[in-house]
Amino acid sequence: MTPFTPTRRQLLTMIGQVAGTAAMYQAMTSLGFAQESGYTQPVALQGPRAQRRVLILGAGVAGMAAAYELRQAGYEVKILEYQNRHGGRCLTIRGGDRFTEMGGHEITCDFESDGYFNPGPWRLPVHHRAVFDYCRRLGVPLQPFIIKNNKAFLHSSKAFGGRPQRVGHVEKDMRGHVAELLAKSLDQRQLDDTVTHEDREKLLEGLKEWGVLNNDLQYRSSDDLGGVRGWDIHPPGGLMPGKRPSEPVDLSPLLQSGLWDQLFNFNSYTFEPPMFEPVGGMDAISDAFAREVEDVIQLGARVTRIAQDEGGVTVTYEDANRGGSVQEETADWCICTIPLSVLAQIEVQCSDRMQKAIAAVPYASAFKVALEFRRRFWEQDDWIMGGISYTDLPLVQIAYPNYGFMTDGPAVLQAAYDTSTAGRNFTYSWSTMTPQERIDAAFALGRQIHPQYDAEFMSGTSWVWHRVDWSLGCYGQWTDDLRDQHYRDLCEIDNRLVLAGEHCSEIPAWLEGSLLSSLDAISRLDQRENAA
């Protein structure tokens, strides 16, 4: 290998990337994806001054949390929900489920195993404290979600002959090469302007161990490296063949492959291990809320108008359970959690500023495909136990189940997933496909990473958020400019009406955003109720 001579800035940038500095985090933060949760303890409401009725629109997590807390504080609550189910975007699909999406295609799920598929939220960062606290209070059992598995694959269709590489190998090779470059620069006194003599010695010592460098400060295959990067032949038992350490990949092909970039998927605070998921599917969370408030949810109610005056709110809706007849509900307050994409098409009596905010936020494109296979070949053949593989193919990622390890029989992969806010456009094209076409495409692409698809495929299912009539997209696609212009106007109480949901948070798309928004909305409503 011929090491190139990087500038100091290039070097430091590379170190930053490998060590995971604030750079990625800042980029994420500007998109509103990596905020610390503001949750510290359960919300404390004063309760109403007299009998008060709160009408909540939408039985998703934000709406149900509001109902749960307000009722405990003494408010009378009722939820109107368009669908014939509770839970909103927090849902899980299992074998036997059927949905009709916009355009009239039926989504079928014929999984034979107990494998499940979470089309919306599917993993919980530990700093999303409100979600965890509700899981504790409502008795939702959690299990680890393996976000980073060093045995999972990073794959480029254009590098290494299309052969996937292991996450751990790419990570350790980048670390080793960068350590070598930096160590040599230090050794050649090229960084004496910035590093003191004492620090230089410490740094060199550390780099040798961190990058597993030999005495010539080179990153090379050795038994020491085998103990860090792994073995081509593992240490034997008895008279089995002797161990042989694995061979690092050279720096240049690694850099040119783009796999280093894929490694950054694991770099952000949001995706810091460990992550968690509810046992048995994400709908365990929505079901837990529903157990508390089911008696106040009216299903099949399509809101067509939200009117208000000083005295209260009147909501008009079509009641699917009474032949679509037009009904009205009145209340003292209204909490509306309807996604802005849908709300923008509903007549709402509110300030011009709130109207403009409601109409200003585009809804992100996102999709998922799940496939069921006859056996867990990723575990049995590839030794991938849970976690996520990434690829430059339009399927973007394959997520392995984090439960049922090494069991025989069929199992479900999340075989394709992306969102447009990740900066890629593939998700629009997935969204144009019929349910069968999505399965065909996920199959045809995925077999380039796991050729076992050919022999083991059973069935598939999918979800396209832009083909869901009650959300018209996945989540509020805020930008910094849009937030500057509209966020406050969207979140302020407008007379008797307040909006809530992930779109009213700086944690878009995440359950934590919807919960914090809901708790903040009911706290302000409760304060307004009790204001002199």
């Binding site: 368009y82 916009m102 269709s157 585009p362 456009n425 593939f426 495409a441 495929f457």
Partner: protein, 154 residues
């Protein structure tokens, strides 16, 4: 045919179609449903690489406005593009594609002026519409927001 069988039939072409897609190749492979499907993905993950109005419609707009531009309705709705009086104005249509509209995302960053013009003309001259006044890439350029992406050819 099952999915694996279907795939086996077209293994070679499908493999070629992604990674080496040009629209010409996509058309050559038009007998192959899987290759045609995979050709719907852009060659560039950030920018749409299709150039014809129809190809761009099939890879983006169709997600919401559906195969024949008929739109769809439920709790919320996507407007039909056929017979919709708002389609009268080519400037309006191109502006919506560039800037978005309510929940609809904008495509100023992912499409250049020629692409926006091609989609605009496609949805106004096909899909049951028969407007005659085409929009040009230069006219699209004037509709771009000040920081609305790269308007030039790539």
């Amino acid at each position: 045919m099952t999915t694996p069988q279907l795939y086996a039939c077209f293994l070679f072409i499908a493999t070629v179609a992604y990674g080496a897609t040009s629209e010409a190749q996509a058309q050559e492979a038009s007998d192959d449903p899987i290759a045609e499907l995979l050709a719907r993905f852009s060659e560039d993950e950030e920018l749409f690489t299709q150039t014809s109005g129809e190809a761009l419609y099939r890879t983006t707009c169709q997600a919401c406005h559906m195969e024949a531009g008929e739109g769809a309705a439920g709790a919320g709705a996507y407007p039909p593009l056929a017979g919709n009086p708002k389609m009268n104005s080519k400037h309006f249509v191109a502006g919506v594609i560039l800037n978005g509209y309510q929940g609809m995302p904008h495509f100023a960053d992912e499409m250049d002026d020629a692409q926006v013009a091609a989609v605009t003309n496609y949805v106004r001259m096909e899909l049951g519409n028969a407007y005659q006044d085409a929009i040009t890439a230069d006219q699209v350029a004037k509709l771009r927001p000040p920081d609305g992406g790269d308007s030039t050819d790539r």
